[in-house]
Amino acid sequence: MVRLQEEPFDAGALLTAFTEGRRETGAVVSFTGYVRAEAGTVETLELDAYPGFTDTAIEAMAQEAQSRFGLQDVLVVHRTGRMGPGEAIVFVAAAAAHRRAAFEAADQLMDYLKSRAPFWKKSHGDGGGRWIEPSAQDYEDAKRWDAPPETTPSESS
């Protein structure tokens, strides 16, 4: 399930709801991403989304991860609009029978979200507004998963 929202969320409350009543689940991995203060340089972050396009793209990423790693369930909650330091911006949870699948699914999903999700991000700080693109590291991280499933990082090492 994928949800875009302007309202803040509490990662713990999302995790509680996500984990409820899972008798066959062995492992749940969650990722929560925050706006960092970076010693005062980021005052607020502004995230543009294109409703009906952005959520569809993320839903496709979530479904790809779900089938690739055999997940029992997956959740993505992403904020849009303006956010300040310390506020959660993204929450991803993956439920699986075994921990490796849950870790790799959450990891891949975050790499894809950070580099390929259709958002447009602006940081508003002391020096005014600045549009941000993915870092070289973000692109590299996402490429780790582009090989076919037989050669994912953990299996080839």
């Binding site: 543009d48 294109y50 396009f53 569809t56 390929r116 447009w120 507004g129 693109e133 993915p134």
Partner: protein, 79 residues
């Protein structure tokens, strides 16, 4: 009357987010925007800027109807 949506830095360049324009193809629409606003034109033709018609990315030209929604998307930042 196609609806035109701008995202990211295109909004800052154009000074608007959404307009209705009566043009029958994507290329004609983009050319009209560029003719009207040179800075926006440059931004629309910059590398990595994509267009979506009715929420699906298109390469090349596309015909537009009155109900079409056209979005111009600068390089995506990721979440």
């Amino acid at each position: 009357m196609a609806r035109v949506l701008l995202f990211g830095r295109l909004r800052d360049v154009a000074g608007w987010r959404e307009r209705d324009l009566d043009l029958s193809s994507l290329f004609a629409l983009r050319d009209a925007l560029a003719a009207e606003d040179a800075a926006l034109g440059e931004a629309l033709f910059a590398p990595g800027v994509q267009a979506a018609v009715d929420k699906a990315l298109v390469r090349g030209d596309a015909s537009l109807s009155a109900a079409s929604e056209v979005a111009f998307l600068p390089p995506m930042s990721g979440g």
